[in-house]
């Protein structure tokens, strides 16, 4: 049965750090796992370097190489995984 009143959504203590935007999530993921350097992620031509890094990540992880932050790429970024970088030391 449908709920009588709209469901409340609560921000639970300890979860405030969440809520990164998709792009912010992508940037931190690409830097953390070695697909981009801090500099590349922060440069003004961010768009180009992001696409390049995304393509590199998609190739490495066997995803479709679109260079775009598409749904399957975003899903991969949120999947539980090993903390060792994929590229470099």
């Amino acid at each position: 049965p449908l709920q009588a009143q709209p469901r409340a959504v609560v921000t639970f203590p300890g979860e405030l750090v969440r809520g990164l935007s998709d792009v912010e999530l992508a940037e931190s993921y690409l830097v953390r796992f070695g697909y981009a350097t801090e500099g590349e992620a922060r440069t003004s031509s961010k768009h180009v370097s992001l696409a390049k890094a995304l393509r590199k990540m998609q190739k490495q992880l066997g995803l479709e190489e679109t260079g775009q932050l598409d749904a399957s790429t975003l899903e991969a970024m949120q999947a539980p995984r090993c903390g060792v970088p994929d590229v470099g030391r």
Binding site: A8, V10, F12, L61, G62, P80, C82, G83, D86
Partner: protein, 579 residues
């Protein structure tokens, strides 16, 4: 596959590992077993051996930790990063770290190993029926002492088998109290506590005093997680409190109310509205075996693979019947070579023979020599975990199969089942190998009973044990039998009359004179010279009803004494005779 820059690898093959501390999510025995199996994934296909040590510096140091845990690469709470490891080398190199904000299981949800009761340490069976009601968690109903318990079969009412669930009222882990239970209330820092606390610690592990005053006696232990312990949130490890109030409503089970991601949570006090204490309810969790096998690949020199099905692919994926992918095999053999098959993994020291170290940090082993001197042995290990409800027909393969006293024995991972060819009583068990043959490792490769003396020979790696009844001789190296290094493991044995037994390894076999415990001259010989048509890499070779059986995967080849294969059948249906 990829290796690390410069093909970093170990310069020796007899590696050691040490488990520094344990997650409260799983019983210690289950974690040790998972790590042993995770190493065996790699030792099965290389010359590498892995031996667990309990003090001093090991090649691979293993630890559980949360957030920043000392190496500058912080974890990130529940989910996300699960673990990491460093390439081979000295110091932190080679070490493997696991995020203890995760819920560690064997991949299919909560594992509650019981202690005491009458179920021999079996796992809880959820749900179970007690006095007509069904329960999916440990309960205190029926008891006055408040100790949580569960049934280890589907119905306590029918089977009456039960065990006690992890609880700080029953035992603690680590610390300096030899596993003694908590004493409530206890005084710490002048304050009285009537429950486990994380106060005084920065690593978030829950502890208690095991006397009335920690301030006076300094005796403490870490609290095992209850079955309803929450994961993450802001009260990791505390149990749910049911019912609890949330936005004025009462909840007596976990709920996803208030969340958009659908994750189940509960409050850890009677009122979330008042106290705002909460955590996620246990879910399937992450298989410590699978994650460890991946991280140990890094510890040995493998980098991430882009092959999605490979173990070294960076993302977690639960696999029920794990098999190492060819990409992983190529990678690890590129570094260490094939070897002659799996090398022996030294069995864990038999608890009653060596003093156990006294853990001092979150369940870790002692860190200083003199502590070792002072260490008092932990209670001898509980009888090996046996779960009578584990059905042999669920097993896809067995470590070893042989006939002993007229009964076929099926060995697997510390357990065994029997099936009598005389009595139509069906499959019996699971029984504990350790209880029947104390001193044997959990995983064996082959076994046979000498027809004349009834002694039973067991093989694991390049070691063998001989049992006359309960008395044991061994382990000894199979080189004492005259078997050369080319045999990494014994796959099976065929008893031949006149005190002779054929031992199979790889594509060869030796003829052992059981009386003098020496193989005859002129061996090994090639198996397919005589036994044509059977698989040369059989996992199990045994004599049954006077016929030779060679099993590989799901199938078994049966051969007559005239060396003719007269049947290829299913291990499960023709040998085990599962329904």
């Amino acid at each position: 596959f990829l290796t690390f820059e410069g093909d970093l690898k170990w310069d020796h093959t007899d590696l050691t590992y040490r488990v520094m501390n344990y997650s409260p999510d799983l019983d210690r025995a289950i974690i040790d077993d998972a790590f042993m199996r995770a190493f065996k994934v790699w030792s099965d296909v290389t010359p590498l051996t892995f031996t667990q040590i309990y003090s001093g510096e090991a090649d691979i140091m293993i630890m559980f930790g949360t957030q920043e845990h000392g190496d500058g690469y912080p974890f990130d709470g529940k989910d996300g990063l699960l673990a990491h490891a460093f390439p081979p080398g000295r110091g932190v190199q080679g070490d493997a770290h696991f995020d203890d904000d995760e819920f560690w299981t064997l991949g299919t949800g909560l594992v509650v190993k019981t202690r005491y009761g009458n179920a021999n340490g079996a796992d809880c069976h959820f749900p179970f029926v007690f006095e007509g009601r069904s329960y999916s968690r440990c309960i205190t109903e029926g008891r006055t002492d408040g100790l949580p318990w569960c049934a280890t079969t589907a119905s306590y009412d029918a089977d009456k088998t039960y065990g006690f669930c992890p609880s700080e009222l029953l035992y603690t882990q680590g610390g300096n109290s030899d596993g003694s239970p908590c004493v409530f209330p206890f005084v710490f820092g002048g304050v009285s506590y009537d429950a486990c606390t994380t106060d005084g610690r920065s690593d978030g592990y829950r502890w208690c005093a095991t006397t009335a005053s920690f301030d006076q006696d300094k005796k403490y232990g870490f609290c095992p997680n209850r079955d309803t312990a929450v994961v993450g949130g802001n009260s990791q490890g505390d149990p749910c409190v049911f019912p609890f109030t949330f936005l004025g409503e009462s909840y007596s089970t976990c709920t996803s109310a208030g969340r958009q991601d659908g994750k189940l949570w509960c409050a850890t006090t009677g009122s979330y509205d008042a106290d705002k204490k909460w955590g996620f309810c246990p879910d399937r969790g992450y298989s410590i075996f699978l994650v460890a096998a991946h991280e140990f690949g890094h510890s040995l020199g493998l980098d991430h693979s882009s092959v999605r099905e490979a173990l070294m692919y960076p993302m977690y994926r639960y696999v029920e019947d794990f098999q190492l992918h060819a990409d992983d095999v190529r990678g690890i053999q590129y570094l260490y070579g094939r070897g002659s098959g799996p090398e022996p993994t030294a069995p864990a020291p038999v608890p009653t023979q060596e003093p156990q170290p006294v853990p001092t940090e979150a369940g870790s082993a002692s860190t200083t020599e003199e502590e070792e001197e002072e260490g008092t042995p932990e209670p001898t290990a509980e009888p090996s975990p046996v779960d009578p409800s584990r059905d042999a027909c669920m097993e896809n393969k067995f470590d070893a199969i042989t006939e002993i006293n007229g009964e076929l024995h099926f060995f697997k991972n510390g357990k065994y089942w029997t099936r009598s060819s005389v009595w139509k009583s069906g499959i019996q068990g699971a029984f504990s190998i350790a209880d029947t043959w104390p001193g044997l490792p959990a995983v064996i490769d082959a076994a046979f009973q000498d027809v004349l003396t009834k002694r039973v020979f067991f093989f694991a790696g390049r070691h063998f044990w001989v049992f006359s009844g309960k008395s044991l001789l061994g382990p000894r190296g199979i080189e004492k039998l005259g078997i050369g290094k080319e045999a990494g493991r014994i796959a099976g044995a065929l008893q031949r009359g006149r005190g002779k037994v054929l031992l199979f390894s790889g594509e060869n076999y030796w003829r052992l004179d059981v009386k003098v415990q020496r193989v005859d001259k002129g061996y090994p010989r090639a198996t397919d010279d005589v036994f044509t048509g059977v698989p040369l890499d059989a996992r199990n070779v045994f004599l049954y009803q006077d016929k030779y059986h060679f099993c590989q995967g799901h199938f078994c080849w049966r051969m007559t004494p005239r060396y003719q294969v007269d049947r290829v059948g299913y291990l499960k249906y023709d040998i085990l005779q599962c329904p």
